[in-house]
């Protein structure tokens, strides 16, 4: 039992009093660590990031003729038949006619938002029924055609830049018709703008809607220029 008395650790001093001499370190530590972790760390990161990856650090903007037309990672709201349409978006924004009101404003990148409705919400199920009907009509599908789930559900951010390949393929005929292109050609564009799982394993196969639509526009412009 006497061997137990060996103390393995012997500091210079042990303080028992909880309060003695704590005022200065407590106050100084708050300000000091705010400066280190709240300003120095993010500012140094900002500096280095803008040297190494200036494009991404500023929001991965796509710029044409000096004007930003969007971000590669943020979805946009598409309604025209000649464009592929993204997923439904639950974002809202202030009413331009009456600033005191909020109105639906899909793909509002200044206020991300989701429905936050549970699975047995009547409101949500009604929205699904409506969107399914509209999707079939827009794309000339049979009244009992099965609609891909991503085409009728709102994303978490309201800014999802992607749709599934199944969704894109069902829209191809409509886009081809509106643009006067053969459907095969449009499907080729879909294939070219499809990314597989990252590093071969992570995530799912997906189509970036903005990049796909930009590719279609660029091809149309090149075609006009050639004529």
């Amino acid at each position: 039992m006497h061997k137990e008395r060996t103390i393995t650790h012997a500091p210079a001093s042990i303080s028992h009093s909880p309060f003695k001499g704590v005022t200065r370190p407590v106050l100084v530590s708050a300000v000091f660590f705010m400066l280190v972790t709240g300003l120095a760390y993010p500012l140094v990161t900002t500096g280095v990031a803008n040297i190494l990856f200036p494009d991404q650090a500023q929001g991965s903007l796509i710029v044409e003729n000096g004007q930003a037309i969007g971000s590669r990672v943020i979805g946009q709201y598409f309604t025209k038949p000649g464009y592929f349409h993204g997923r439904p978006s639950a974002t809202s924004g202030t009413d331009p006619n009456d600033p005191s009101k909020t109105v639906d404003q899909p793909y509002n990148a200044a206020a991300s938002g989701a429905s936050n409705q549970g699975v047995i919400s009547k409101k949500l199920l009604d929205a699904f029924a409506e969107r399914t009907k509209t999707y079939r009509e827009e794309n000339g599908l049979a009244a009992d055609a099965r609609v891909p789930v991503d085409a009728v559900t709102a994303s978490g951010s309201g800014l999802d830049p992607h749709i599934s390949v199944a969704n894109a393929r069902l829209q191809a005929a409509r886009v081809a018709k509106a643009r006067g292109l053969p459907e095969d050609k449009v499907l080729d564009f879909v294939d070219q703008n499809t990314s597989g799982p990252q590093l071969g394993v992570l995530g799912d196969q997906r189509v970036n809607v903005l990049e796909l639509n930009l590719a279609l526009d660029a091809a149309a412009q090149a075609h006009r220029a050639a004529q």
Binding site: F33, R72, Y77, I120, V149, N167, P197, Q198
Partner: protein, 567 residues
Amino acid sequence: MVQDITQFVLILAVMTGLVVVLGKWMTHLFTSPTHNIIERGTYGILGVNPAEGMSWSRYGMVLLLSNAAMMLLGYLMLRLQEYLPGDPLARGSQTPDLAFNTAASFVTNTNWQSYSGESSLSNFSQMAVITFLMMVSAATGVAAAGAFIRGLSRKNTADIGNYWVDFTRVTYRVFLPICFVMALIYVWQGMPQTLNADAIAATLEGAKQQLIIGPVASLESIKHIGTNGGGFFAMNAAHPFENPTPLTNTLHILSMLLIPSALTYVFGAMILRRRQGWAFFGAFLVMFLGFLVLVYGTEQAGNPLLTPLGVDQTQTALQAGGNMEGKELRFGIAQTSLFVTTTTAATTGSVDAMHSSLTPLGGLVPIAEMMLNNVFGGDGVGFINLVTYAILTVFLVGMMIGRTPEFLGKKVEAREMKYVMLAVLAHPFSILGFTALACLVPSTLESLANQGPHGFSEVLYAYTSGTANNGSAFAGLNANTTFFNTTIGLAMLIGRYLTLLPMLAVAGVLAAKKTIPEGPGTLSTATPLFTGLLVFVILVVGGLTFLPALALGPIVEHLMMLGGTTF
């Protein structure tokens, strides 16, 4: 399906590998006697003696007071936001109850947000308040875990270490370097990191799109490594700027699990019983896998009420399928399920999908993990919670076999059991007490976004999240009211300090005891049998406490969904 399981196995294997790497590094951090030059300079500025040893009561008091000072500083900056520099969007100050809620939320590592980041915080506040409090609250938790383990590893002494040394080393040697490197990887993948406040885009269809940007990556890296969880944007890690690719999603998941899992290794190494660390890691992993299977299974199966509408939720080569409401396509069901399971296991609370739109049983998982509060758990505190239950298990088993319970060679007696029970009971007391209170307040109904059992789940989720210092939400609930801001703020403080301080006391009391030699009747705590008993005790205590509340929320909602009842 095969690809989904491949992802799970791969990510969990990488996590286990990192346990050893970071575990070794942190063990060195907590035991090394030498201070580097930057640390010595810091001690000079703070005016502290790094050689001073602290008793548990002093360690706890210094922790509490320095946290209070940091919370006050954060509160003041939020209240004065409109007068602080550099916001072209001129976002106003937060109201007193909202600023209290925000400061309490971030200093307790909860990161519950009653505000939405885009519209209410300037880039200065995102850095000097949010990033700052994220880092120091995580460092506080890890420092406390270090002191706790040190207390358990020592004998015949009142000294459990020096708070300033632990805190400074954790900040300098773990958080700052890892966060810096991770932030750069995030920017490479498409996360903004700038002092500009926004960019205006003219969209293809001729509309104006205002893109909010800012120092996102530096916040995002500490948010996950520090198991904080508060988003730069309202929709958190579902927002493409916070989580642009499946790779960033994977790194978020690994970051959240990094420190909570590595602490099991630190524990084994510091008490010189490696197997004990792995026995605890095993307990974490078993519970985690069970919850992961439940989320993945129910979310991939989808919402049965959609099928009659002609919606295709099956998984095919061309679509991931499943319940996609509130989810992002780039993650699909597998990455989302793993994130959901991780974020409330590691009590981070960031979300890459809206938990409110999960299927009822899928949504039960995050609630249940926060109720148990020790499936990995938050940085530092999750491990402490697990040891709380380990001591409780030893005690119960000791009672059953009629022997004085022992833990790590120390007798477990009345005094430390009182502290343990205080820590075990403060948690459900806060969750169930505040939920009951909110149900009695008539104005609660106006805050709900869903009717029926889901509305109750929103309230239950809010207080569970606050008390467990998680911060995620069934986000339909409008919690920015004086009642919710104040009560959830209190729940966060109770949940943090009424579990942390009693357990530091336990560590202090055990450190002062002498060890007793192992005898034939000693229950080994490093065996699979004990791991099984531990998981059993956690589930039984959690089940007995919380099952009635869960039955009123997600469970009845699940039955209604199967029966086709809607609200």
